[in-house]
Amino acid sequence: MIDLPFFLVASLVLAVGLFAVGLFGLMLRRGILFQIIALEIMLTGPALAFVAAGAHHGDPGGQGMFVFVLVLAASEVALGLALYLRLGRLADVADSDSVRTLRH
């Protein structure tokens, strides 16, 4: 193992944890709105990792990537919410399991 500072390892573990939390949220929550929120949580993981790694290496690139991630998260939420509203007219958005006309 190459030695990494504790700070970085801890941040990375935290980041992966955030990612995992989001993923589990995606799997466990039925409401589409909550799934979109879980997505947002998933995205915070890499964002944190970028910032931490940027700080560790003293490189501004990480912060740049962080901004990109935020942009992505924002646009994804925008798209997701539009979709949510539209889908709400046609299906039961509180239970994503019912949205399964396309299958097999």
């Binding site: 799997m27 994503s96 399991d97 097999h104």
Partner: protein, 636 residues
């Protein structure tokens, strides 16, 4: 290429060939008159070309080759050419002359036939003439064989001219088949010579043949002899010729007596220098010739049908020619060829004229009273018979036959034996020659004499005159061909001269003594040519037919057994290997497999639940799997 006089050689067969193409393959519709004119012109024109060439030859320039074109096959050069030498000049003149006579004659003879039939007839006659001339003038073995084979083809079609007569067709097939056997032998001989020489020019073949080792030389010579025997209807191939008389009479006159049948003698004369290098084959030629001469003459005596009689006569006469060749006197043989061509075509044409009066039957009895009914034809027939029998001094036949007998006598003790056989044949010749003549005298009631048309009479009279006119020319002919006319002791010559008269007496007895003539008419065995046909039937035809019937499954077996072998094998294989599995394990396995696949598919598609949460689960599962692998690789 400078213009050589031999270029004219190319022109000789051309008119006949042109007439064939126009009549046989040309699509244009032609009137009866046009058909006859074209047919006759095609036959007469070659004579007009050939006669000056013959004269040119007589004038002394008689050794020329006219190349046609060369083929190269590997190292060998196949140089096709026509050749003018004394042999081809003499035979060429004879063939063109006889051809012109016979075809002119057939204008009248065939006049009653339908136009398409006539057209076919003239086309084939012209094709025959062209091919015969090709063979005679050939300067190489390819052109020679071309003519030789085409003659056989024409012979087949002409024998089977009466297409509705099963007998005629059978006769044609028989003739074609037997001559084809001979042709195959000849082809083998020629090809072997070609391999020896690396060239097809006759001038090169003969020396090359002489130069080879003895076994090969003997074999090639024997093959050539076989070819000649078959084409010339010699023992043992003679059976086809009498049946071939089913064709129209002019066909018999031209093909089956005067020219084509005698081509065997021409062939052997052509290759005489080479044959002489194979003494055993020479001896065999002489023996076959003498035996056929006697056999043919005896058989002819017992014939009831005038055309069959003349056919056996041809067999016998060509036997004489072969005898001469076997004795080393090909020049004499060719002289006899010429003389025989003249008198035999004369006999056929005049006999045809007489029997045509009797509504088609060619029985000898139909000639009764011919002297009064058809005097001109009868007299011409007598002239021909006299020459055939060899009435001394005045007939050409006497000179040529006497030369052959002389050659035999001079050939040593073996020759004397042959001479005896030939003498017997000569006596019998006179017997059969004069039997129809005497029959022609026996008729009490005298019908009004009639005379045939112009086209009938001109050729007949011309040929009749020729039988006598050629008499003094026989010895010059031999000399012209480069031989020395043989002269035996005077006593032998006298014996020979006596033979025809002895024969005449016997013929008279056979005709006028009823008891004897009854005997003749009952001698079936002798009439049918000692039943060699029957032997062939048993030894070749029946086994072959049996083989064919067996192989085609007409005997109850499998049709085409060899071709069925792979099928049977495959069936056996199927029975052994596939069938045990066909219904049980494999087949069922396959269907179970495919059913299982479908069921699996139906189950497998449920993986795609359509629920986004399950999709996320799959994603998480995949990610976990990859990360586990990644984590695993860090252990080391």
């Amino acid at each position: 290429m400078s213009l050589s006089p031999f270029l004219a050689l190319l022109l000789v067969p051309m008119p006949a060939m042109g007439a064939f193409l126009l009549l046989g393959l040309g699509p244009a519709h032609l009137e009866r008159r046009a058909v006859q004119t074209v047919g006759m012109l095609g036959a007469v024109a070659p004579m007009a070309v050939m006669l000056p060439l013959g004269a040119y030859c007589l004038a002394g320039v008689c050794d020329g080759v006219q190349p046609i074109f060369d083929l190269t096959v590997g190292d060998a050069v196949v140089a096709l050419a026509l050749k003018l030498d004394p042999l081809s000049a003499l035979v060429g003149v004879t063939v063109t002359a006889i051809g012109a006579c016979v075809i002119t004659y057939s204008v009248d003879y065939m006049a009653k036939a339908e136009v398409p039939d006539q057209r076919r007839y003239f086309a084939l006659m012209n094709l025959f003439l062209a091919s015969m001339l090709c063979m005679v003038l050939a300067g190489d073995s390819i052109v020679l064989f071309l003519g030789w084979e085409l003659m056989g083809l024409c012979s087949f079609f002409l024998i089977a001219y009466h297409v509705t007569s099963a007998r005629a067709i059978a006769a044609g097939r028989k003739a074609f088949l037997i001559t084809r056997v001979a042709d195959a032998l000849l082809l083998a001989g020629l090809l072997l010579l070609f391999l020896e020489a690396g060239s097809v020019r006759l001038d090169a073949l003969i020396p090359a043949g002489i130069a080879t080792d003895e076994v090969r030389r003997g074999l090639i010579a024997a093959l050539l002899l076989g070819g000649a025997l078959g084409k010339s209807a010699q023992i043992p191939f003679h059976t086809w010729l009498p049946s071939a008389m089913a064709g129209p009479t002019p066909v018999s006159a031209l093909l089956h007596s005067a020219t084509m049948v005698a081509a065997g003698a021409f062939l052997l004369a052509r290759f005489a220098p080479f044959l002489q290098a194979a003494p055993l084959v020479m001896a065999a030629t002489a023996v076959f010739g003498a035996a056929t001469a006697l056999f043919g003459a005896v058989s002819a005596v017992f014939q009831k049908d005038i055309k069959r009689l003349l056919a056996y006569s041809s067999i016998s006469q060509i036997g004489f020619m072969l005898l001469a060749i076997g004795l080393g006197a090909p020049e004499v043989a060719i002289a006899h060829f010429v003389v025989h061509a003249i008198f035999k075509s004369l006999l056929f044409l005049s006999a045809g004229d007489m029997t045509q009066m009797a509504r088609g039957t060619t029985d000898i009895s139909a000639m009764r009273g011919a002297l009064w009914a058809r005097p001109l034809a009868y007299l011409a027939f007598v002239a021909g018979a006299a020459s055939l029998a060899g009435i001394p001094v005045i007939t050409a036949g006497w000179f040529s036959k006497e030369a052959i007998l002389a050659a035999a006598w001079l050939a040593g003790p073996f020759g004397v034996l042959l001479w005896l056989v030939a003498m017997a044949a000569a006596v019998m010749t006179a017997v059969y020659a004069f039997r129809p003549v005497f029959v022609g005298l026996t008729r009490i009631d005298r019908p009004r004499p009639t005379v045939g048309g112009l086209f009938t009479n001109v050729p007949v009279v011309a040929l009749a005159i020729a039988t006598f006119a050629v008499a003094p020319l026989v010895e010059p002919m031999v000399a012209f061909l480069g031989g020395v006319p043989p002269h035996p002791p005077r006593a032998v010559e006298l014996l020979g001269a006596a033979a025809p008269f002895l024969g005449m007496v016997m013929a008279a007895a056979l005709t006028f003594v009823p008891r004897l003539s009854m005997r003749v008419s009952r001698a079936r065995r002798l009439r049918s040519g000692i039943r060699i046909d029957g032997i062939y039937q048993v030894t070749f035809v029946q086994p072959f037919v049996g083989l064919v019937r067996w192989l085609t499954g007409q005997k109850g077996g499998i049709a085409d057994p060899v071709g069925t072998l792979p099928i049977l094998g495959a069936e056996r294989l199927t029975a052994a290997v596939v069938r045990p599995f066909a219904h049980d394990p494999l087949d069922r396995g396959w269907s179970r497999f495919s059913a299982g696949l479908v069921r699996g598919w139906a189950a497998g598609r449920r993986l795609q639940t359509g629920r986004a949460r399950d999709y996320a689960l799959a994603l998480a599962f995949g990610l976990a799997l990859i990360l586990l692998i990644a984590w695993g690789t860090t252990w080391r």
